[in-house]
């Protein structure tokens, strides 16, 4: 077993409840408890080692090359949190069995809960801060799922969204902070980071790091001014609230503060920010809690207040304050979980949580009332209970500190004030609900809950009492171990006894209890005073802010993207100019290989012709047919250029493609407007000329820069092995079908996909047929002139013969499957043009789609076939045979591959052109075809 197994088992545990849901609620619950129970047992077995001072670390090299290491670490602090998470988690699962009604999706609920538990455990066990952050984000997401479990309710959805937005945003700040820490320290390993506190504190970026990490912690722990999300998260089912707001979620923020205490603590900035945030939250939460009529609302603000207390303790400048903070984390988790569960029982058995309706429940549920009273007393800080102990320590530390300089006296005074309110709201929780007259207008007649529903509460209450009476015996070692992990020094002396004699903290406690009773007695006046304020709903304020943000984002978005593709292209090109021009400005190429080839007259003429026709295409682009003519001149000269510069294969391909492309564009032009109106403003034209010229200039420059460099090519290998390895003398073709055969296979696949896409686009297209040309003259009646018919028909066999010849000789001479395929296609298209679709249809019954499929299959099969001979994919084979009458010929498997290429090219070209042509006739392609 290792710590990693905990994560694995818990992750497996996420699917368990979904799988066992069908076997009934009890079985489902028990199986759900399995994974946390195993994890708890394992962690429990490690307790002695950790308490003895050992820090258990485990490392798993995940992607060492990228420096990504998974690492787990169990020290005292992690142990304390892990026990709380798993222990209270198990009780919550058990409790939820009775809380959720039979009709609710318990499997889903448990799955979310275990996911959340896994994430929390991963936070506390992480030994890598990035790993910690990942888990942190998962808690935000899974808590969103839990809070919005009753997603039919608006308040659930809004509350969940608010929690996710606030904690998620805080998580991003935390990520930034952790990255900065990683940058400063040079490692994301927690051990290393914890050991480099001085380095971080003295770094120039320390204030930024501190603020970012605190943002993460404060949003998660609901510290003022980010406290508003917590009360709204009460829309969650009560087991969720009991879990999220006692032992987990909000405690994750506290954990973060405690974890980074050795690194970030010790500066004035830390003391000031953390103390002030804690102090304000402590008092504000306690005050507001008193006025909440909703039981869970009261508990929510009380939670806010207690979190403030813990944060305040972590912010004070004494070491004992940190010990007190850790002690209170435990105590608060225990009593708050039990209080939430008690509130859930009351809600469950009476149908309401409104304290104005609830009264006198003592008669109906004395057992629950007793449990709730003990828990509330612990919350109020009554002696003999665990809440009293940590509160006493808190009061003691509030006197001992000098954090706020001359104003330090404020801390104990405000702490006592908050204590008064805490007693008052605890009293209200008890008196208003269980006494104070008779219940009125309850939706259900109240009674005790099922026996088992009270068990988790009883366990927690027992803990409250045991810890409250025998603190040193029960949690002394655990607290010492956790404190050592946080303080990283010799622990200061402290005593976990109940009685310290008559001293100021005791006096403060007495003031708090007496004051609380007085405040509760005169609550009517306070309520009247509070009623004068218009109640502001944080939800509305928050939604308003979100709406404002969305509106602002929409405005920015609309300003940037107005739906004009033309504008986007211009922006994109301008950006490309900037990206390429800047490096060119700072780059000086020494032209080692300047112009060394003389220019002949013919070449100059061709170049001038090329440039002129390109420019003519631009000038006449509104007269579309004319533009097409000049465009094809460009294409022709390009193919001549290929021929001139020793690339006969390219010249042939370009020539054939040119013909097909022109046919295609002429056909398309039949359906598109013949002319383009002038609509670009002169300034737009000027801008576009500027962009175009800049890009042309840059491209030419780059081209010149590399064309004049000496060539160091890998092609010598291909040339040397073309004949011996590939069996062909035409190196270009051998590269295509042999050396780089896999590329070619991919390319014919793309060709086939493009053709099929076109086929689909043309299906059921609704086009207006134009009956006249742009000058209003009708189309020629003589669609199929006899001379064209006769010549093209007699040319067909010749063309096919030529393409066959080109195909066969491809391996050794310029030619090959691509070129032969194009020639065949053009010859067939020629027949379409001459005879029309009606004439061709009965005579040529090839299905072009299957032709493409066959082509790709044959090519792929040639590759696969090499496996049969025990050689790698796409290995070719060739040999020479002597056949009578014909002489010696060469047979190569590459020829079969080339056949696949040939078939695909024919199929794709014809599929495109023939289907486009069919649009002019009645044989239009349909979607069903």
């Amino acid at each position: 077993m290792s710590l990693f197994w905990i994560s694995v088992i818990m992750m497996l545990g996420v699917i368990v409840p979904v799988l066992t849901e069908r076997y009934g609620r009890t079985v489902n619950t028990l199986f759900t408890m399995l994974a946390p129970a195993i994890a708890l047992a394992y962690i429990g077995s490690l307790i002695p080692a950790v308490l003895a001072g050992e820090v258990i670390t485990e490392t798993f090299e995940w992607i060492p090359a990228a420096g990504l290491v998974l690492s787990m670490r169990l020290d005292g602090l992690a142990l304390m949190f892990a026990l709380l998470i798993l222990g209270i988690g198990l009780l919550i699962i058990f409790y939820a069995r009775y809380y959720l009604s039979a009709s609710e999706a318990a499997g889903r609920f448990y799955a979310y809960l275990i996911l959340f538990m896994t994430a929390m455990l991963s936070i506390v066990l992480a030994n890598n801060v990035l790993q910690l952050w990942m888990a942190w984000e998962v808690t935000s997401i899974s808590s969103f799922l839990l809070i919005s479990f009753w997603s039919a309710k608006t308040e659930s959805r809004k509350g969940a969204r608010m929690a996710l937005t606030v904690t998620g945003a805080g998580g991003l700040a935390l990520l930034a902070g952790l990255l900065l820490i990683g940058d400063i320290v040079g490692s994301y390993n927690l051990e290393v980071i914890l050991a480099s506190g001085d380095l971080i504190r003295e770094h120039m970026l320390y204030p930024v790091v501190l603020i970012l990490v605190l943002l993460g912690a404060f949003t998660k722990s609901a510290q003022f001014p980010f406290h508003f999300w917590l009360p709204h998260a009460m829309a969650a089912p009560t087991p969720v609230s009991a879990y999220l707001h006692s032992a987990t979620m909000v405690k994750a923020g506290i954990f973060l503060l405690a974890r980074f205490y050795p690194v970030l603590n010790g500066t004035d900035m830390w003391f000031l920010i953390v103390t002030m945030a804690g102090l304000v939250t402590l008092v504000l939460g306690a005050y507001v809690a008193l006025f909440k009529h909703d039981l869970k609302g009261l508990l929510a603000y009380s939670t806010v207040s207690h979190l403030g207390l813990i944060v305040l303790l972590l912010g004070l400048d004494t070491q004992l304050a940190a010990v007190a903070a850790l002690f209170h984390i435990m105590n608060h988790a225990v009593f708050k979980a039990s209080l939430f569960m008690a509130a859930g029982i009351i809600d469950h058995e009476t149908g309401t949580r409104d304290m104005r309706q609830l009264s006198g429940l003592w008669r109906f549920m004395p057992h629950t009332a007793t449990l709730a009273m003990v828990a509330a007393a612990s919350m109020a800080g009554v002696p003999l209970l665990n809440g009293f102990l940590s509160k006493e320590m808190f009061f003691a530390e509030s006197i001992n500190q000098e954090t706020l300089g001359f104003l330090s006296w404020m801390v104990p005074v405000l702490a006592t004030l908050a204590g008064i309110f805490a007693v008052a709201y605890s009293l209200r929780f008890i008196h208003d609900v269980f006494f104070n007259g008779e219940p009125e207008g309850l939706p259900k007649s109240p009674h005790e809950p099922p026996r088992f529903m009270k068990i988790p509460v009883e366990i927690l209450i027992a803990l409250c009492l045991i810890v409250g009476m025998f603190p040193a015996f029960v949690v002394g070692d655990l607290l010492a171990s956790a404190s050592t992990a946080v303080l990283r020094t010799e622990l200061p002396y402290y005593s976990l006894s109940i009685w310290h004699g008559f001293n100021i903290p005791l006096l403060m406690s007495i003031i708090a209890i007496v004051g609380g009773i007085v405040v509760y007695a005169v609550r009517r006046h306070l309520f009247r005073f509070q009623a004068q304020f218009a109640e502001s709903d944080a939800k509305l304020v928050f939604e308003g802010m979100v709406q404002w943000l969305v509106n602002a984002a929409t405005r920015v978005d609309e300003a940037l993207s107005n739906g004009s593709l033309q504008r986007y292209v211009a922006a994109l090109l301008t950006f490309a100019i900037l990206l390429t021009a800047v490096p060119l400005l700072n780059h000086n190429v020494t032209l080692t290989h300047p112009d060394n080839q003389p220019v002949t007259f013919v070449e100059v003429v061709a170049a001038v012709l090329l440039c002129l026709s390109a420019i003519a295409t631009v000038i006449y682009h509104r007269k579309r047919a004319l533009a097409l003519v000049t465009l094809s001149v460009v294409g022709l000269i390009v193919s001549v250029a290929f021929a001139r510069f020793s690339a006969p294969d390219l010249a042939l391909t370009q020539l054939a493609v040119e013909v097909a492309a022109v046919i295609l564009l002429i056909l398309a032009l039949y359906f598109l407007p013949k002319n383009t109106r002038t609509e670009s403003s002169p300034s737009r034209v000027a801008r576009d000329i500027g962009i175009a010229a800049a890009i042309g200039g840059i491209v030419a420059t780059i081209n010149y820069a590399f064309i004049t460099q000496p060539l160091d090519s890998i092609s010598d290998f291909y040339l040397a092995n073309s004949k011996t390895g590939g069996g062909g003398t035409n190196a270009v073709n051998v590269i295509l079908v042999d050396f780089r055969g896999l590329d070619t296979l991919g390319e014919i696949l793309v060709l086939g996909i493009a053709a099929l896409g076109i086929f689909k686009l043309l299906a059921d297209i609704k086009l207006s047929m134009i009956s006249a040309n742009e000058r209003g003259l009708p189309w020629s009646e003589d669609k199929h002139p006899p001379i064209l018919v006769m010549i093209s028909q007699s040319l067909l066999p010749l063309a096919l013969l030529v393409s066959f010849y080109i195909f066969l000789r491809g391996h050794n001479m310029p030619g090959g499957g691509f070129i032969a395929g194009l020639i065949t296609s053009i010859a067939l298209i020629q027949q379409y043009i001459a005879h029309g679709v009606d004439w061709i249809k009965p005579r040529l019954t090839i299905n072009y789609q299957s032709l493409i499929a066959w082509g790709v299959l044959i090519a792929a099969f040639t590759g696969i076939a090499s496996w049969a001979f025990g050689v790698p994919f796409m290995t070719t084979w060739f040999d020479y045979f002597d056949i009578p009458l014909i002489g010696e010929i060469e047979l190569a498997s590459a020829l079969v591959f080339d056949l696949g290429v040939y078939l695909t090219v024919v199929g794709a070209t014809l599929l495109i052109l023939a289907n486009l042509g069919k649009l002019t006739s009645v044989h239009r392609p349909t979607a069903e075809e």
């Binding site: 070449e603 170049a607 390219l650 391909t653 175009a692 042309g696 491209v699 035409n730 076109i758």
Partner: protein, 121 residues
Amino acid sequence: METLYVVCVGVITACGVFLCLRGRTFSIVVGLTMLSYAVNLFLFSSGRLHLDGAAVLGTSEQYADPLPQALVLTAIVIGFAMIAFVVILAMRGRADLGNDLVDGREPPDTKKLVNSSRGKV
């Protein structure tokens, strides 16, 4: 020679880019065709310019680089498929939207907007 070659590449590129910035689909198609010529020439020239050196063994003393040629050969065919796809897309756009504008709608007439905001028609 090299200078002449790159000037041609630059001019074709510039013309192609300019046409790609127009608002009608057919100009874009022509522009893209032009750009693919330029790109093919550009890539091809990475094997340098050779005269009388076709990469067919036994035909010359010094061979041109066959690798860029093989790459450009497939690029030409795929370029054709791409042009075909774009042109059919343009037709489909015209059929479904009723116009052949790249943006799918008439550009807003700013003069009219200004007038209407001032209360003039």
